[in-house]
């Protein structure tokens, strides 16, 4: 992605501020703004502040971009390498059941004498890659729908966006829950179900980006130049949509981690003995008062992972937006 493309990827209504420089006239313009503009504005805000973790405008900085990249790469590497290097196993019996933390194992053992730390780290690895997988699928599906809608316009656009709006109006996690329950509980089915419900926002973002990019001089030049439609779409339009989609996607990692864990907590993940943070917490609930660490450790691991993902998402937003 090169800098000019990032410049292009500004929200459509940003043009308003450019034409009307003073705060007073801006406000006047806002009152004149038609209903659709307001609705889009509200939708954008929902997006940014709802699942998103960003509040208030801050200036763009190169540092937060690096922070985001290092965090994402760092989490991935640590979760990939640590269990492998330490040769952690999710089912090995390490000691007697309910060994207290800091005695022999760092965080004690669970009801079957398995090392809680080992299972927690493996569970974090599962959560992390599962979330990245779901988001990639969501971006691919939503991006494709948004691209087709924005690029074709007309009836195709209307139909696809109606579908997207309807999908947005449904409670994603609940629909995913029903789908997993029907397909049969397993990690793979959970991933499919959540990915099925996690595309509409991306479709909307890509579509609005594509619509505004279509009128940019470089796209019109490409069209006048007689380039083929796929070439215009993938070479001249898609790169311009990337930064907005990446911002949205990076903000979603934490949410997806939590949604997946919630489904696993309800018994919709892999069957035992797989180490999944949600399922581990649910199993630990039985012994909450005698051995609280069994339930708290995986839930805390989940929290740490989600916080890191949120910080990375926040930093990525800082770097890519504005």
């Amino acid at each position: 992605m090169n800098p000019p493309d990032m410049q292009v990827a500004v929200e459509p209504e940003a043009g308003l501020g450019g034409e009307l420089p003073t705060a007073g006239s801006l406000q006047a313009a806002r009152h004149v703004a038609d209903g659709e503009g307001m609705a889009e504005d509200a939708a954008r805000r929902r997006r940014r502040f709802g699942l998103g973790r960003r509040a208030g405008g801050r200036r763009r900085s190169g540092r937060s971009g690096r922070v985001a990249v290092w965090l994402l790469v760092g989490i991935t590497l640590v979760l990939l390498l640590l269990p492998a290097v330490l040769q952690l196993s999710e089912s090995d019996i390490a000691s007697t059941p309910f060994e207290e933390p800091l005695s022999e194992q760092l965080l004690g053992t669970d009801s079957q004498g398995r090392d809680v730390v080992a299972r927690m780290l493996i569970g974090m690895r599962t959560s992390w890659f599962a979330a990245l997988g779901v988001i990639s699928v969501g971006v691919a599906v939503g991006g494709a729908i948004g691209l087709v809608a924005g690029f074709s316009g007309g009836i195709v656009d209307t139909l696809l966006m109606r579908l997207t709006d309807a999908a947005l109006a449904l409670p994603g996690p609940l629909v995913a829950l029903a789908v997993v329950a029907a397909l049969g509980p397993s990690l793979r089915n959970t991933l499919i179900a959540v990915a099925l419900t996690w595309w509409p926002w991306y479709a909307r973002i890509v579509r609005s980006q594509v619509r505004s990019l279509m009128h940019r001089p470089h796209v019109e030049a490409a069209r006048v130049g007689g380039l083929s439609r796929p070439r215009i779409a993938f070479v001249h339009v898609v790169p311009g949509t990337l930064s907005a989609v990446l911002v949205a996607a990076s903000l979603d990692v934490g949410s997806v981690i939590l949604v997946l864990a919630g489904l696993s907590f309800l018994g919709l993940g892999s069957p035992a003995p797989a180490a999944e943070l949600g399922a581990m917490t649910a199993q630990g609930l039985t012994y909450l008062f005698n051995a609280p660490w069994v339930a708290v450790a995986p839930a805390a691991g989940l929290f740490v992972l989600a916080v890191l993902a949120n910080i990375a998402g926040d930093a990525a937003t800082d770097a890519l937006e504005r």
Binding site: L170, P171, P173, V175, L285, L288
Partner: protein, 330 residues
């Protein structure tokens, strides 16, 4: 204005129809054979085929959907495989507990969200601390909040009860809403008891939405503070609290309301997890028991009911937005 609301209602109907189609399709894809699981594995194939035809499982899909809708409109959600009771009556008896919990969580979310938003929007100190703590709070899994609450406030401090809705099983429950029943029954002790039981689950469930609402409100308040009419009001010497209440909040509240609608809908989904943590006898607990025993009619029934509530809450919030913000009406 009326046209807007009409359009909104039309789209509401569309979304509800989509929900029924999804639920229907999910039922269709069930890998397990509903006839077999109901009549038992040892029934002969001929009898099964006969029963299948009797129920109409061999009919064309559109016909089946029509029949599904007919039953749905009559409130028939099938029979639970676990309790052997109609799913509708099961849900009916568990729903009040869930609504009570969700309503309490909604109060927590709106009150704390408002506080976070208004306090966080003030210039100066605490702004970046606010930002970091809201990043952290947004990452707390609902069940972690619940578990820590139980350990600290029940196990260690002994301040609050954990689990169930009350210490004693109340004999008369005309509405099923404990808070209302105890007031109606003139039972102040029971009311206090029910309220104490409600505190922890409601906070565990409401804290995430509170953060989301708070951040939205904070951002939109900040934007509003830079408007000229705020400067004018301040220059006239209007007190700061009046500036916030009468001038800023009214103009800034809309995005926060939209957020609240979304979040209150999500509270319904989160309630399922919280009910499991606190053994709260609502439809979430019923749902999770249904998952554990592969009770698909129960699972799908609960998802359907929660889905309808989600869609309705969002539609209601949208309408409220139209009512309070004239700029949206044109």
């Amino acid at each position: 204005m009326l046209r807007r609301i009409a359009v909104r209602l039309a789209s509401l109907v569309g979304v509800l129809l989509l929900l029924t189609v999804i639920v229907f399709l999910i039922q269709q894809t069930l890998p397990s054979d509903p006839v077999k699981s109901f009549y038992g594995r040892n029934t002969s194939p001929e009898v099964l085929a006969e029963k299948r035809e009797e129920i109409g499982l061999d009919d064309p899909i559109v016909e089946q959907y029509t029949r599904f809708m007919e039953r749905l409109v009559q409130g028939d959600l099938g029979t639970s495989l676990r309790t052997r009771q109609p799913v509708r009556s099961d849900i009916g008896s568990f729903l009040p507990a869930t609504i009570e919990l969700a309503a309490a969580a909604a109060v927590v979310a709106v009150v704390f969200g408002g506080l976070i938003g208004i306090l966080g929007s003030r210039p100066g100190r605490g702004s970046s601390a606010m930002r970091s703590s809201s990043i952290a709070l947004a990452a707390v899994p609902t069940f972690l909040a619940g578990i820590l609450g139980i350990l600290v406030f029940y196990r260690w401090l002994g301040w609050l009860p954990a689990g169930q809705r009350s210490s004693e099983v109340s004999a008369s429950a005309p509405t099923g809403f404990l808070m209302i029943d105890t007031i109606l029954g003139g039972d102040p002790r029971g009311l206090g008891d029910a309220a104490l039981h409600l505190i922890m689950p409601a906070i565990a469930l409401g804290i995430g939405p509170a953060v989301a609402i708070g951040r939205t409100l904070r951002a939109s308040l900040r934007e509003t503070y830079s408007e000229e009419y705020i400067r004018t009001a301040r220059a006239k010497g209007v007190g700061e609290s009046t500036v916030i209440r009468r001038h800023a909040l009214r103009n800034a509240v809309n995005p926060a309301l939209a957020m609240a609608g979304l979040q209150l809908g999500l509270v319904l989904a989160g309630a399922v997890v919280v009910e499991v943590v606190f053994s709260w006898p609502g439809i979430g607990l019923y749902l999770s028991q249904g998952i554990a025993s592969s009770d698909f009619p129960a699972v799908i029934g609960v998802v359907f009911v929660l889905g309808i509530m989600y869609v309705l809450v969002n539609a209601a919030v949208d309408t409220v937005q139209l009512l309070i913000d004239p700029r949206l009406r044109t």
